[in-house]
């Protein structure tokens, strides 16, 4: 894909020189023609980076599409390469292995805007990492911590995460849904928790709307028996399936379509199915209701409700999805309830 960045000015820096170096970069970038400094938020991009790799190792933020994200949601980007394991860096003299600053510009003459990016590879312990980030964030705008790692293998550094107003991650990369969900548990009970945003949860939005619409349209007479919503999924979609199961468990607007519940209140663990014929996920009731999610649509078949119908799934570019999440700071109460339900389920064993 062609780069969206019109120009890129970068220089190596040091922890003490980051702000002056950024100021100098902005001056250079604006030398020939004006450029607006655009910033809606601080975006702290956390990447795991072993401390014993070479000093010139590149952090993976370019592969994550950070450029495209900040084109849509201008932010002061702080890419933080850190090794959460302890011990290895004790003998290092400097808490930072390398630092650089960059100004990216977008747009054309007359409508040029730029964002600033700071890339830091830390060599310090977990307890010290917050002191680095705090020096770099701007105070009067929201801060999002974007955790690019698998939470089941790289648990969130709570002090760092709590610095943010929003904690963004993607459960699609979770190898172990149980471990990752439990890693989020401390954040759910904290009264000053950040708003949690899961890129994967966003995928469920049209699915939830279709399911809600279908069940809401059922004749109340068909809600006689309580029955669990059974979720099956293809390989690699475990997290999405659990989110679906959790939502069905907590979604008041589904359970209260009539005065009798249409689904069992028990949280029914999803099942991985190797014979999904291209479906990403299915959800079914014992009475024949079936919802199928493919890569491009949601298909609902309900023998006792509406005639079969399908809803197209738009293929939202990754950067649009991330930028969309960054733009919503209000807590998604339903999502928090789903996570709490899943945490409760996993804690019970």
């Amino acid at each position: 894909m062609a780069s969206v960045v019109a120009s890129r000015a970068r220089r190596s820096s040091s922890v003490e020189r980051i702000e002056p170096d950024l100021t100098a970069l902005w001056r250079d970038v604006a030398h020939d023609e004006p450029v607006s400094r655009a910033v809606m938020s601080n975006l702290v991009v956390f990447c795991r980076c072993p401390v014993d790799t070479g000093e010139d190792v590149e952090l993976p933020h370019a592969d994550l599409g950070v450029d495209e994200v900040v084109q849509r949601h201008p932010a002061r980007v702080i890419v933080l390469g850190h090794d959460p394991s302890t011990g290895a860096r004790r003998d290092r003299s400097s808490p930072v292995i390398s630092a650089s600053v960059e100004v990216l510009t977008f747009g054309t003459s007359g409508a040029r805007y730029g964002v600033e990016q700071i890339v830091i590879r830390s060599a310090c312990g977990d307890a010290a990492i917050r002191s680095i980030v705090r020096q770099l964030t701007l105070g009067d705008i929201p801060t999002t911590v974007w955790w690019t790692e698998d939470l089941s293998t790289t648990e969130p550094l709570t002090p760092l995460v709590k610095m943010g107003r929003q904690f963004l991650y993607d459960s699609r990369c979770w190898a172990d849904v149980r471990a990752a969900t439990l890693a989020l548990a401390p954040l759910l009970t904290d009264p000053f928790r950040p708003d949690l945003a899961d890129r994967n949860w966003r995928r469920l939005a049209p699915v939830r709307r279709a399911l809600h619409f279908a069940l809401e349209s059922r004749d109340a007479a068909h809600h006689g028996a309580t029955t669990p919503l059974r979720v099956r999924h293809r390989h690699g979609e475990t997290a999405l399936a659990w989110l679906m199961a959790g939502w069905a468990h907590v979604a008041e607007h589904v359970r209260h379509v009539t005065d009798r519940p249409i689904a069992d209140v028990r949280l029914e663990p999803p099942t991985e199915d190797t014979r999904m014929d291209g479906d990403v996920l299915t959800a079914s009731l014992d009475d024949g209701f079936r919802l199928r999610v493919t890569d491009d649509r949601v298909i609902v078949e309900d023998p006792v409700g509406l005639p079969p119908f399908a809803v197209a799934l738009s293929r939202e570019p990754e950067a649009d999805a991330i930028a969309g999440e960054l733009g919503v700071l209000a807590e998604d109460a339903t999502f928090h309830q789903v996570l709490a339900a899943l945490v409760g389920h996993f804690q019970r064993g």
């Binding site: 100021t23 060599a123 010290a128 990492i129 002191s131 020096q135 733009g327 700071l329």
Partner: protein, 509 residues
């Protein structure tokens, strides 16, 4: 004009005064033939002092000028160096003043100067009174100098002036401040005394009055009807460093709150002055200080928090706690952090909390004032109590990145009504280009031109001491260890607890 700097080879002179004077020289605003005479205990010749000044300027001058001392292609440095002189001697030795007087006479004669002098006390506070008394004894001030009580007999040939610059802190409590003020007003007229609080020389602080009284948009909102609270933070990332001997006697309340923070508070809360006459502006500031609701007795425990920094981190590197700093007593109870919840009991600000916070070893060096407006009603876009809109806030950044920002709510472009807090941001650096002058440049120039607007008057200083004294007294009566906060954090939990019952939170800077 002759500037005599007592402590002219000391830290303040090297870091601030000499670079500021050099910048003024480069800007061409120093009065012609100005002589700068440093006085100190060091054994330096004029040449030696000029070398020291050159090193200091190269190290500490801001990056605004191309006329750095080296390589001195345009001769700027050479011209400046020729105005520098050094006189050695002990400040409590009357013979040193006799020698100084002789040297000043020669220098002024050689440079054709009329004898206008500014005496800068860049010395420890304990030396203020002895130095001023020696100046009087050696007849540096008085006979032959301008007397404000009687105009010069011939306005065409005014008598030379003698002005005094005093650095804060002036005293360590009301009694000692009064004693110092009494001593110096016996020698200098109040109108010739310039009590420096360098914060008042910062561009953004000067712009506070412009912001408030040269714009129609803000002033109508600056009152208890629209303002939820005001926060003033002066944060330092550094520890006590080499200043332990001074800081142990002072602490954050005396070092920062009594002067910088209360001065900022006075500027943000004052009524519009009827003119920009220095005394009219200072009268209005004084009114604010006199309107501060006293915090006394048990109220101190409820409205004031003090703490000491413990070991922690600065930019990832471990740093020691205050008690482990060189020169700090192992059982020191000197506070390095203060947070206050206070009220200005006047018609404009009745019931509006002013939240003040300052400390060392906080996460970053930053000073700002934030005026947070009240929430919009919980209807329309602010209906969801789980996701309240951010309140509008006017943030005035004093350092670094001087400027101000107005936080507003805006709809993100798109089909949905998604509201996001955005800011309208004004930055001096990006709007006006070249860096702002250093505070000392402005202040030194004001003293030279005889404008005391940005300096603290005696009654302001004493009103501030009068207000902080009950808090200091209450604290001095407590023998408990102070609460601590890890270096690199925004203060102790108690500071958060100070605000928690009100539902407010300290802003992250």
């Amino acid at each position: 004009m002759t500037l005599v700097i007592f402590g002219g080879a000391g830290d303040l002179a090297r870091r601030k005064l000499l670079p500021a004077l050099y910048n003024l020289h480069l800007d061409g605003v120093l009065p012609p033939r100005t002589a700068i005479v440093a006085v100190g205990r060091a054994s330096l010749t004029d040449a030696g002092y000029r070398s020291l000044a050159k090193e200091s300027i190269a190290q500490f001058a801001r990056e605004r000028h191309t006329g750095a001392p080296e390589p001195d292609n345009d001769g700027s440095w050479t011209a400046f160096a020729e105005s520098l002189f050094f006189v050695g001697g002990s400040l409590d030795d009357s013979a040193a003043y006799a020698a100084l007087g002789s040297r000043l006479d020669i220098i002024e004669h050689e440079r054709g100067l009329p004898g206008n002098r500014i005496y800068y006390l860049a010395v420890p506070p304990s030396m203020f009174v002895p130095t001023v008394e020696q100046l009087a004894r050696a007849r540096f001030v008085g006979a032959g100098h301008r007397d404000h009580s009687a105009d010069s007999p011939d306005p065409r040939h005014p008598r030379p002036f003698a002005r005094l610059i005093v650095e804060k802190p002036i005293g360590r409590d009301l009694a000692s401040a009064t004693a110092i003020n009494d001593a110096i007003v016996r020698v200098f007229d109040e109108r010739d005394i310039y009590r420096i609080d360098h914060y008042l020389g910062k561009e953004t602080v000067q712009n506070l009055l412009v912001l408030r009284f040269a714009n129609a948009i803000f002033e109508p909102l600056f009152n208890q009807k629209y303002v939820d609270h005001v926060q003033i933070t002066v944060a330092e990332s550094e520890g006590v460093g080499t200043r332990a001997s001074y800081y142990e006697q002072a602490g954050a309340m005396r070092d920062m709150v009594q002067n910088h923070l209360l001065q900022l508070l006075a500027l943000i809360a004052m009524e519009p002055p009827h003119s920009l006459d220095p005394d009219v502006v200072r009268d209005e500031k004084l009114e604010v200080l006199l309107s501060l609701r006293p915090i006394e007795g048990e109220a101190v425990d409820a409205q004031a928090v003090r703490a000491q920094y413990a070991a922690g981190f600065e930019f990832g590197a471990p740093v020691r706690g205050y008690l482990d700093e060189p020169g700090v007593a192992a059982d020191s109870r000197t506070e390095t952090f203060v947070a206050l919840r206070l009220f200005v009991d006047n018609w404009r600000w009745a019931g509006v909390p002013f939240l003040l916070r300052t400390g060392k070893r906080l996460p970053k060096r930053a000073s700002e004032i934030t005026v947070q407006l009240k929430d919009v009603p919980p209807i329309l876009f602010n209906r969801d109590p789980a996701a309240p809109l951010d309140a509008n806030a006017l943030t005035i950044r004093i350092q670094p990145d001087e400027g101000f920002a107005l936080g507003i709510s805006s709809k993100i472009p798109g089909p949905r009504v998604n509201i996001y807090p955005v800011k309208m941001d004004f930055r001096y650096s990006s709007t006006f280009g070249a860096g702002s002058p250093e505070a000392y440049e402005r202040l030194l120039l004001d003293v030279m031109s005889g404008d005391p607007t940005l300096f603290m008057r005696r009654d302001e200083v004493e009103a501030a001491w009068r207000w902080v004294s009950p808090i200091l007294e209450r604290w001095s009566g407590h023998a408990d260890r102070l609460p601590t906060y890890a270096a690199g954090e925004w203060g102790p939990d108690q500071a958060d607890a100070l605000l928690r019952p009100t539902g407010r939170r300290w802003r992250a800077l």
